[in-house]
Each structure stands twice: as structure tokens, then as C-alpha cells.
Symmetry: C2
Subunit: 398 residues, 2 copies
């Protein structure tokens, strides 16, 4: 008998334009970041469930009987994606031993796993034994949607194993994706995981992890854009710690202090997002040219200045922008700002040696830097040979 | 008999907020810059007129008979400040030997002098002999209103010598100023000089040179603000050459390219100017506090970002802002941008040694730097002992 195995990956997320302005009713563009989280699920014949998350040094296992005891009639009837079963969350916190208020990454990830596992299989005759291994290219806590990528992988693998959604990969394929309807379901379950981890997430991160590409986010509505190009970027983490809450509050204070000065800036950011969307649409329509890249670069520069005006810049980000501009590359912060991460646009013809030198410059500043892309596909099923060897090796080692 | 002598000074000009936006109907604040041009006029008994401008290496003299030959009936009848007597300008160009189109500083200054001299004295029985000496603390061609300060001094000294306006200085005074009506006349004659030198000036520079303080400039209307504080600043010249015309055209192009993005930025700049005006008014009303200085600093930072968005920044200006911010001081470009000059706000309690170190940092960048103030008085008559010794020495040496 063949062991049922699912290898799933989901991308991280970056904000291309509109961070902070989106809080005040403006358009933001969220993009998939091709630094991915990989999950391997093997349905096993033992009576145990193993989860191995070497990134966050979390390795746990439970007997099926223990887990079965957590399922109640309510869990079976409840099993829904519209509301969170808070009593189950409470039981799981007690079971794993995570006090209320604790937000440690490993603990939260385990809670999300157990919640989705128990909810998805609540209707099954019995809980299945399985081993999950997770490896992520994403740094955690950097605002790059690593928890959402994890939840999307979890939801996809568990729903596939349960049979609620298909396992779309055929023998001839390296990667495969799901139908629109199935992705809706994946996204809803991933959102439940995000709720457990973050409390009150916007839902943008899991949507990006599911659909990939570029999503327009406006007034609470998330719309995946059809047909957008993939763009090469450098993703840099300044590693300067920041509090998103404090930064968001700071922008609000600034609006209250100088409404006539800051409100037009938010208008301008809104127009930056819309102009960027138009430009990307034109590029994908086959007109992609250096002229379009110049526009994308100008928009990046403009928005970075606007974010500075909103007070969410940081000297580390100024340094980053200066260092990349010295190489002719344009950068902006992505996400909350005040440090954190930034994206640097690369053109299709940007020379490899120039990219290498820029990465070295950025590393010399003490930053982490990855060459990756934005606009990549969302959640995917992989054949083992389509996954980078080093990652496959990690996933196979558990 | 006592030799009639007039010592006059007028300040330069900086733009505090609103450069470029003013071209598109927004409010700008023009401020006097306490780097001054000094002029000494002595009515002599010889039959000659001497003008000595050591800054620009221009030393000329004419016989009164030569000059008298330039006065025609038209000059006498025309002598007006509403329109320029273009036939007189043409005769003066021929007389001095300046071909049409030449804009050399010395030549233009001489043209402006001769035009105002002949026009002001056209109604007199005969032209008076005199010696004028001019010394300026202002660099020329740096967008700091050096030509306007010169024209204001010229107009004031010549109108005083002719008796059209008073000579307000009494024996007990160090400095004195004129009535509002007299300043109107000074300003109109200075504007004629500016027209000769610049062709189509806005009139802001001569207004600042005349009234000093802070002027609001909006939709072609210039309004001196009552009761504004003097602010200590560093004035830095990056010495990066730029073309105001090219920069103005660049902003226009950017508005045409991204109207929905750039127009709100101009709105925001307008609000920066208005907020600054309100803050300065409050400060002069006696409420001046560190809180007000914080607002002024924030406005400077915001506007500098906006000017970058408009595309009139320059790496030299980025360096300047970074160098001063490292000392806790806030800077923005002033005027056309693309290099040129910048202002750095100093607080009343900014330490002398910190100012000294900052000036040294800026000089190490290859910039010229002056410690001065904005909002200083406009045109003044001076007693000899009220003028700095070194300047008086220069003026007396001719």
C-alpha cells in the first residue's frame, strides 16, 4: 500500500503599496512573496500524530486517544469556518498547556494545527494518525505572513487528507493547484488558524497565501487581481524591532495633529496603489517595457517619502534606500515600517553581479537579504522532485 | 559742508515653505535672510559717478556729461514704476556695451543702477555726482535674492539722495526704517531693477528685501505678515548648480504624468505653509515654546519629503539633511532645489558648540554654511558704527 503523502507550499506576503493608508479607507496592494512555507503530511499507520517544526524548534506528538478525548459533540456539530469555536480553543490551550495571553510562536502554531486537525476530522469515523513536517523560508514575526503561509499549508494538507478537497497533482505534474471553490475553503480554514494566532487578523495574509499574485485590499474587501506579472525583488529585513500597534497609533495621531497636511498624503498613497495596479495590468497585457519599470520605481520612491511623512520611517530604512539607490535600485519599506522589512525592485535585465554586490552592501549594514519575487502563485501541491533538494531533505528527515 | 552719505542694507531671501507649489496656485512663505547687502552712497562734488562692487569685481565710473546725454525728454516724462522704459534699457545696453541676451552679473547690476539713477534724477535740474560702494554677504546666483537686495539698496539710496523719500536716521539711532508709503515706492523701484536683471521676476524677492520678515505669496499676491518671530538658522549652499527653469518644468511634467498622485502633495504643501504661518503667529503672540519648535521641525521634514516627491531633491540635499539630523537638527531645501541651498532650523537654546560641529560637518561635505536668521528687518538705514567693522572697512575703501 502506498503511503498517502501531501507536499504543500504557500507563499509569504508583502505590501507593495498602501500600508497604513489602508487603515484609513485607502487602497492597498498585498502581494505574494515567493519565500514559501513547505509542509509535508504523511498519513501513517501508527496511533500517533507528530508535528515537527524545526524553524521554531517545536517537535511534538500525541496519542490519538488523547486527541480523541478533545472532540466533543459540539466540535462535530460546530465544525464551521464562519466563527471560531472558542470553547475548543480554550480546551486546546489547557491541553497543550498554553496560558491565556501567551503568544509564543511555537505554542500558537500547535494550537492552530490541533484546532484545524480536530475540526476537519470531527466528522470522520476516527482521527487519522499522521506526521507533519514544516519548513519555512520566511522569517517569523517580520510582518511577512509566515503564520498565514503556515495556516494555508495546514488547512490545505488536512482538507486534502480528509478528502474535503481534491489532491490535484497528477503523475506528470511538478505542481498543481485547486479549483476556485476549493481555494475558498482553504482560505476560510486558514483564516481560522490566523484568528487563533493573531486574534483579529484582516484576512489579507491568508488570502495572499491561498491565491498568491496580487490582491487589492480596500475597505475590508479583498479582491485578487487577475493576470499580474511576477516581479523580481530583494527582500531585506533590517531586523529593527517595531510594534505595529504603536506605529498605527502614531499615524492616527499625526492625522489628528495635522489633518490638512496628512489627509492629502493618504489620498496620494491611494493614487499610488491605483496607478501601480493599472501599470501591472498593462505589463501583464504584454506591453511590459523599461518604461513600465520606471513608473514602478517612481511609485516606490514616492510612497517611501509618503511613509516617512506619516512618521513610520526609520534611519535603517533610509540607509537601505540610500545603499540600493547607489546601485540604481529603488526601495520602500513594506508593512508596518519603523524598521522591519523593505522591498527593492529588480528589473528583468538587472545584472546578477549588481544584485550580488547590493546584497553584500545590505548584509554589511547588518540586514538579512533574500533575492526572491512577488506575485508568485499561491498555495501549491508539489511532487517531491519539484521541491528544492535542501528543503526536501529537511522535510524528509522527520 | 557735510558730505551727504547714506548707508543702506537690505536682506536676502529664502523660501520657508511652498517653493514649486506656489507655481501651481498654492501658498508660499518667503522670508528675509539676514545675510545682507550693504550700500554706501556719498554725494560728491566731482563731475563723476563711481560704482564699486568688489564682490563681483566691477568698478566703473562715468562723467556726468556722458550720463546726461542718455537722458531724453521721454526719460523725463516716462519716469514711472509701472512699466519699464525699454528704450532707455536699450540705450543703456548700447552705452555700457552689453549685447542683448547677455546676463553677466556685473553688467546687469550696472544696467539696473544706471536705469534707476537716470530715472530717479530725470526730473532734477542736473544729475548729481556720487560714489556708490556695495558689499554683500550673499552669494550671487544661489537663489537667495542677492540681486533684489542690491536693487532695494540702490532704489533706497537714490530715492533718499534725490529727496523723494526721507532719510529717517536721527543722530541717536543705529538703524532706521521708512514709512509704509515710502517702502511701497522703494519696492516699486527695486522691482524695476529686478525686471532689468531677470526679465520677468515674481516681485517676491524685492518685497522681502524691502519689508523683511515673512511674506505670504499666493496667486501672485504678496502679503507681508504682521508680527512674526526671527528664527535662527543655518543657511547652507551645496554649490550643486541647477537650473530653476528645468526644475520647474520637471515638476509640471510630474503633475501631468501622475496628476492624482502629485496634486494631493501640492495640497499638502499648501497646508504646510498655512500651518507654519499659524504657528509663527502664535509664537510671536508670546506663546513661543519647545512645542512650537517641534511643529516647525515636523513641517520642515514633511515638506522636504514632498519636495523629493516632486523630483526636486538631490543626493547633496539628502546628505545635508542626514548630517544635520544626526545632530538633531531639521533641514529642507529652499528655493528651486536640485542642489542649491537649504535651511536648517536652530532652536533658541541650540548649543553654540553643536552649531559649530554641524557647520564643520557641512563644510566637510564641501558645502558653504552660514549661521544667520530669517524674519529679520527689511531695508534699513545705518549709522556707520552700526555696521560690522569689516564691512564698513570695505565700503570706506572706495
Amino acid at each position: 500500500m502506498q503511503v498517502k503523502e501531501y507536499i504543500i507550499s504557500a507563499p509569504g506576503k508583502a505590501i507593495l503599496h498602501g500600508e497604513h493608508a489602508v487603515v484609513h479607507g485607502k487602497v492597498a496592494l498585498a502581494v505574494s512573496l515567493n519565500l514559501r512555507t513547505y509542509l509535508r503530511l504523511q498519513v501513517t499507520s501508527g496511533e500517533k500524530v507528530f508535528i515537527n517544526m524545526p524553524n521554531i524548534h517545536t517537535f511534538l506528538s500525541w496519542d490519538l486517544t488523547e486527541l480523541q478525548s478533545l472532540v466533543t459533540d459540539t466540535t462535530v456539530n460546530y465544525s464551521s469556518t464562519t466563527e471560531l469555536d472558542t470553547s475548543l480553543v480554550k480546551r486546546l490551550r489547557d491541553f497543550v498547556g498554553i496560558p491565556d495571553g501567551t503568544t509564543d510562536t511555537g505554542g500558537m502554531a500547535v494550537l492552530a494545527f490541533l484546532y484545524i486537525y480536530l475540526s476537519v476530522f470531527a466528522h470522520s469515523e476516527s482521527l487519522p494518525s499522521m506526521t507533519l513536517s514544516v519548513w519555512s523560508e520566511l522569517p517569523t514575526g517580520a510582518g511577512l505572513g509566515s503564520s498565514a503561509a503556515f495556516c494555508v499549508c495546514l488547512a490545505t494538507a488536512l482538507l486534502s487528507a480528509q478528502g474535503t478537497i481534491s489532491s490535484p497533482l497528477t503523475h506528470q505534474q511538478d505542481t498543481a493547484r485547486w479549483s476556485e471553490e476549493e481555494m475558498e475553503l482553504i482560505n476560510r480554514w486558514a483564516f481560522q488558524g490566523e484568528r487563533i494566532i493573531h486574534g483579529n487578523p484582516s484576512g489579507v495574509d491568508n488570502a495572499v497565501g491561498t491565491w498568491g499574485g496580487i490582491l487589492r485590499y480596500h475597505a475590508g474587501k479583498i479582491t485578487p487581481l487577475n493576470r499580474v506579472p511576477m516581479l523580481r525583488i530583494l527582500l531585506t529585513n533590517t531586523k529593527v524591532p517595531r510594534s505595529t500597534k504603536v506605529l498605527v497609533a502614531g499615524v492616527k495621531d499625526k492625522i489628528n495633529k495635522f489633518p490638512s497636511i496628512i489627509n492629502p498624503v493618504l489620498e496620494s498613497v491611494d493614487a499610488v496603489s491605483r496607478t501601480c495596479e493599472d501599470t501591472l495590468t498593462k505589463m501583464e497585457a504584454g506591453e511590459s517595457s523599461p518604461k513600465h519599470y520606471s513608473v514602478l520605481e517612481e511609485l516606490i520612491d514616492i510612497n517611501q517619502h509618503h511613509l516617512n511623512v506619516m512618521g513610520v520611517g526609520h534611519p535603517s530604512l533610509d540607509t537601505l534606500c540610500r545603499v540600493t539607490l547607489a546601485r540604481g535600485l529603488h526601495s520602500k519599506l513594506t508593512g508596518a515600517g519603523g524598521g522591519g522589512c523593505a522591498i527593492t525592485l529588480l528589473r528583468p535585465d538587472t545584472d546578477g553581479s549588481l544584485i550580488q554586490s547590493t546584497r553584500e552592501d545590505l548584509k554589511e549594514c547588518g540586514f538579512d537579504c533574500w533575492e526572491t519575487s512577488i506575485g508568485a502563485p499561491g498555495v501549491q501541491q508539489h511532487s517531491p522532485c519539484s521541491v528544492k533538494e535542501d528543503i526536501m531533505e529537511i522535510l524528509n528527515s522527520y
